[in-house]
Every structure is written in C-alpha cells, then in structure tokens.
C-alpha cells in the first residue's frame, strides 16, 4: 500500500521529472559515461579498437609516470608552484587593491578604475596571449623595445621563451586577468562593514591608515582565508586554454602543467592509455585535496563547503 501511494505521488509530479530529463541525460552522457574510458589506463588500448578489448596490463602506466625520466617531478612542481603562488598573490593583491580602491573618494574615478581593471577577465585567452606576445616578444615586443631605447638592455629579453621568466610571467598573466574580478568579492565584503565603526574611529581621532589597519583589514581577514582555503582544492587543475598558449618548445620545463602534459601525450603523441592514466592520477589527487580542504574548512569555519 505504501509503495502504491508513493507511486501515485511520483505520477502526480511526473512533469518535474520530464523537465529534469535533459539535465540528467547531459550529466550522464558527458560526465559519467566517459568514466568508462578509464579502463584504457589499465589495458594496452589500441586506437580505434574496442574500449574493453585491450589486454590487461595493471598499473604499468601509472608507474611509468613516476619513473619515466623526471616527468612526474617537473610537471607536478610546475602545476603546484604556479597554482599556489598565483592563488596567494592574486587573492592578497586583490584584497589590497580593493582596500585602496575604497580609499578613492571620487566616485567617477573609482568607477572608471574598477571598470578598466575588470575588463581583462572577460577577454579570451587568445586575446590575452596576443597582448602578452605583442608586449613581451623578444625582437618586437613593446617592453623590450622601450627598454632598449632607454639603454637599459643590450638585446631583448625572451620573456615568453626563456624558462627563467616562465613562472613570473605566467603568475603576472593570472594577476592581470583576475585582479578586477577578485577585487569585486573584497569590495562586497568591505561594503558589508558597519559604517558606525569608522565613524566611531574618526571621532576618536583615528587616521585613515589606522582605520584600514584596525577596522578594514581585520574585517577582511576571514573572507581572505575562506577564499584561500576554498580555492586550494583546485591546485591540480590549470586552465588548459591558458597554458596551452603560453607553453612552447623552449619553456616547457618550467611551464608545462598536468593538463597540458595529458593533452600532449594523449592527442599529440597519441598514447591514449598513458594520458588517461595521468588524468586519473590528477582526478584522484584533486579528490583528496577537496576532501582535505573540506575538513580544514569545517574546523576553521564551522561549516562544510560541499
């Protein structure tokens, strides 16, 4: 009887299920079904053959990643160094930028600076690359030409090729693209601070510096730490479109990250089995990170993020 009433209830809301259908189909087809491709990592899959037809080879491909030259070392190092540095630098600089922007008392000026700094967030990576290529390339890059004209340089610096400059350049690219976007979050947090605190401080004779030091910064600290913790779950993930453009045959030792490595081995060198194995390593490492981050966030924040 109970089952029957349940079925009747379900039938009564069948329209909701119909509306959910496209979403469930999309999730199943594009997220769950490709997981079956993971068997490729454990078999010697041949391109064009059946997914389950290859011979079982166990964990050989996984071992390859860690033993083959020092691939695992440099790829993981690049991924983690670039992502962690970017995370720390982007968020703290956006926080500082928001605080300073809030000190601009002329409304129109503040709005202009905000609009201008937010714009790079919306342009594509191809355009971003075009811009950096225009300004940083060795012979014709604007920055190099200006430095040479000023007599500060003999020959142009190969910013986009020389591995020495890879990390600073890519971290700056991330900063350039996200400063406006990240500062919006902090500006929202600043506008949430009670105005009475500032008024009371003024009456007590606080200078602007003191107000920032003792009111604004302490009020923003929780936002900053939550964002830092939350985003550190993503340290194994890089933006493929970004790194695919900025990696080249000269700087790969310092620039190549996991996502580009998987792409290069899989779709350029056509080693599907190996690329899938490295992809699995990435996903598993990410899952562990998310789990850890969630535990930490619960401790710090008293609430779960997932």
């Amino acid at each position: 009887m109970k089952l029957r009433s349940l079925l009747r209830k379900i039938a009564a809301q069948h329209r909701l299920y119909v509306m959910m259908l496209p979403m469930l189909a999309a999730v199943t087809i594009f997220s769950y079904i490709p997981l079956s491709g993971w068997v490729m990592a454990f078999t010697d899959y041949r391109i064009g053959g059946s997914l389950f037809g290859g011979e079982f080879i166990g964990l050989r491909q996984f071992k390859f990643f860690f033993t083959q030259a020092n691939d695992a070392f440099y790829v993981l190092r690049n991924t983690l160094v670039i992502n962690l540095c970017s995370l720390a630098i982007n968020l703290t600089s956006a926080c500082a930028f928001a605080i300073l922007l809030n000190e601009v008392r002329t409304n129109w000026l503040r709005r202009i600076v905000q609009s201008v700094s937010f714009f790079p967030f919306f342009v594509s990576w191809v355009i971003t690359y075009t811009i950096f290529n225009t300004f940083l390339s060795m012979q014709t890059g604007v920055l190099n030409v200006v430095l040479k004209d000023l007599g500060l340089l003999e020959t142009g610096i190969n910013f986009l090729g020389d591995p020495k400059y890879s990390w600073p350049v890519i971290i700056f690219v991330g900063f350039w693209k996200s400063i406006g976007y990240n500062s919006v979050i902090f500006l929202a947090a600043i506008s949430g601070i009670e105005q009475e605190q500032y008024e009371a401080a003024s009456i007590d004779g606080a200078t602007h510096m003191q107000k920032i030091r003792y009111i604004t910064i302490p009020a923003l600290a929780p936002t900053l730490s939550v964002l830092l913790i939350m985003n550190s779950g993503w340290v194994f993930n890089s933006n493929f479109e970004e790194f695919n453009l900025f990696s080249n045959s000269v700087n790969w030792q310092k620039m190549e990250v996991l996502d580009v490595y998987v792409y290069r081995y899989g779709l350029k060198m056509l080693d599907y089995s190996y690329a899938t194995a490295v992809g699995i390593i990435k996903t598993v490492a990410s899952l562990i990170m998310f789990f850890t981050v969630n535990v930490i966030a619960k401790r710090v924040n008293g609430r779960s993020l997932v």
Binding site: R15, L16, T130, L287
Partner: protein, 316 residues
C-alpha cells in the same frame, strides 16, 4: 563637540561631523602617504589593464609601413586598410565570424533551457528523490574523466568534426544550474501553492510564474554563457581543426599568431621587414574585431556582477 557626535544617532548632524573630522585628520603624514600609494596603485593597475587594448587599437589603425615597435599614443597615419584587407584578402574571416555568432547565440539558448528546467525541478521541495538527484548532479563538479575519454566519446557520438560539438557538451553547467536554483528558492512558495490550488500543473508554474520572475538571473547566466562560447578556442582546436568551415574567430586569431610570427621571422631574416602587406597590423585588426563584442556587452556584465547575482554563488 566630540561628545555630541558620539551620541548623535545616524543622521545629518553625525554625517557632517564625520566629514569634518575626516578633513581635519587627513592632513597627517601617514594619510598623505596613503593618498600617494593609492594614486600610484590606481594609475599602475589602470595603465596595465587599459593600455594594451589601446595599443592594439592604435596599431590596427596605423599605416603598416609607418608603424614600428615602441610605444604608441595615437595611430600613425590613420587608415582602415588593415580591416579592408582582413575582410577581402584573407580567406575565412567572415565565415569564422558567422560560426562564432552561431555558437554564442545557439549555445546559451540550449543551455539556458536545460539548466533552468533542471533548476526548477531541483528547487521544488516536494520532488521525490530530490536529494539523490542533487548528489548525482553535484558530484560531477569534483571529478572529470579527463581529456582522452572525453575525446573518444565525442568521436563515438559523431560530434567531433561537426558544429554540435560546440553546443551539446556545454548544454549543462552545474554552476549555472545552482545559480538559477538558488534564485528560484528565494521566490515565495505561496505563489506556487496558490497556482496549484487553481489547478495549474508544473509546466504552467514553470513557464508562467517562475520564469518571468527569474529574468534577472536568466539574463545574467545567458550573458555569461555567450561570453564563454565566444571566447572558447580549445574545442575547435581539438575537434575541428581539420574543418576550416567550422573554425571560429578565436581559432583563426590563434592560427594567425603562429603564422604571423613565422612570416615575420622569415621577413626579418630576409631583410624584408617592410613587406607590402604587414601581417601584424592585420593581426591587430582581427584582435580588435574579436574584442569588440565583449566590449559591447561589458556594461551589462558589470551590472550583473555589481548586483551580486554571480558573486553570491561563489561565496556559498
């Protein structure tokens, strides 16, 4: 006087007093320093985020022979020649533009339909099995099958090499669905209850009641999707690089970077830097063309961010 200020409730008197103190105190040294730092930082950030775009615009409007490297503060020898050449000489700019426009209008329409219907169902508390469906959908945020299994799937579904590879894989986004769902949950349930009482079914509730009320979030999501579709290039690179008739503007621009750097190096090595057709000005013109649509919708994008519709979901 300070005493009276402290007691004053937030009103006119308090504000005037606040402003007076504000002026008095800003005269101390540390505040001058602060003003200086603020000025420098604002100038620096504005210049590095604005000047590159201006430079590219000026470059594209310059006569190719007269513009060398170095700073540009205005076009040298104003001309629209680069744009003319781009549309007449080079092979497929107009067609690529059509493809770009097609994917950034059709894509958001499809994904908006899928996402909003899903969000509606999942935001109804009476839905049986709601929690299971939520977990099933949200789980996908935390894992990805990786690029190779996805590539093989696209091959098997015969989406690779067609226009639809731009549309179908992007038809659902967990992020956008949650955005719409959160918004729908903020709409009072009484509206729905009274409609149910009047005998309306779920389709009617969705189309006639919820959708009109969700216009702000739908517009925001739609716009965001448009920008995403317009900006993407990696799907073209991976699935459609052999199909020139499916190339998008972004992809054409990307291939332009490669070829112009090559031809520039060749020209330099042959000592023919002053070639008749300067590929760099053409590249700059194309960059401007690809950027302009984003610039057009930019005020709206900024408005949605400022109103917190898109930020809210990031915070929680």
């Amino acid at each position: 006087m300070a005493q009276s200020g402290k007691n004053a409730k937030p009103g006119k008197a308090g504000k005037i007093l606040h402003r007076k103190y504000y002026h008095d105190r800003s005269s101390c040294l540390s505040d001058y320093l602060l003003k200086l730092v603020v000025g420098i930082v604002m100038l620096f950030v504005s210049v590095i985020t604005l000047y590159p775009f201006l430079y590219i615009l000026f470059y594209s409007l310059s006569t190719s022979g007269r513009v060398g490297a170095g700073l540009l503060l205005h076009p040298r020898g104003f001309t629209l020649e680069s744009y003319r050449i781009l549309f007449t000489n080079t092979t497929n700019i107009s067609h690529a533009m059509l493809i770009s426009i097609a994917r950034s209008s059709l894509g958001p329409l499809v994904s908006l339909t899928v996402n909003s219907m899903g969000a509606f169902a999942l935001s109804r508390k009476r839905l049986i099995g709601r929690k299971i469906f939520m977990i099933y959908v949200l789980m996908t945020m935390y894992f990805s099958s990786g690029i190779i299994p996805h590539y093989i799937l696209m091959q098997r579904l015969h989406l690779a090499g067609t226009f639809w590879v731009y549309i179908f894989p992007a038809m659902f986004s967990t992020f956008n669905m949650i955005l719409i769902k959160t918004y729908m949950e903020g709409i009072p349930e009484e509206l729905e209850e009274s409609a149910l009482m009047d005998g309306a079914n779920d389709y009617i509730i969705f189309f006639r009641i919820l959708l009109p009320l969700c216009m702000p979030v739908l517009a925001a999501v739609m716009l965001f999707d448009c920008v995403h579709q317009w900006n993407a290039y990696s799907d073209t690179m991976i699935y459609n690089s052999m199909r020139t008739n499916l190339h998008t503007l972004q992809y054409v621009l990307m291939t332009f970077i490669d070829t112009t750097t090559q031809s520039l190096q060749e020209a330099e090595s042959k000592g023919e830097a002053q070639a008749l057709f300067n590929p760099v000005t053409a590249r700059m013109a194309l960059t401007v063309i690809v950027t302009v649509p984003i610039l057009c919708v930019y005020p709206a994008l900024q408005k949605y961010f400022a109103s917190g519709i898109l930020i809210g979901s990031i915070k929680g």
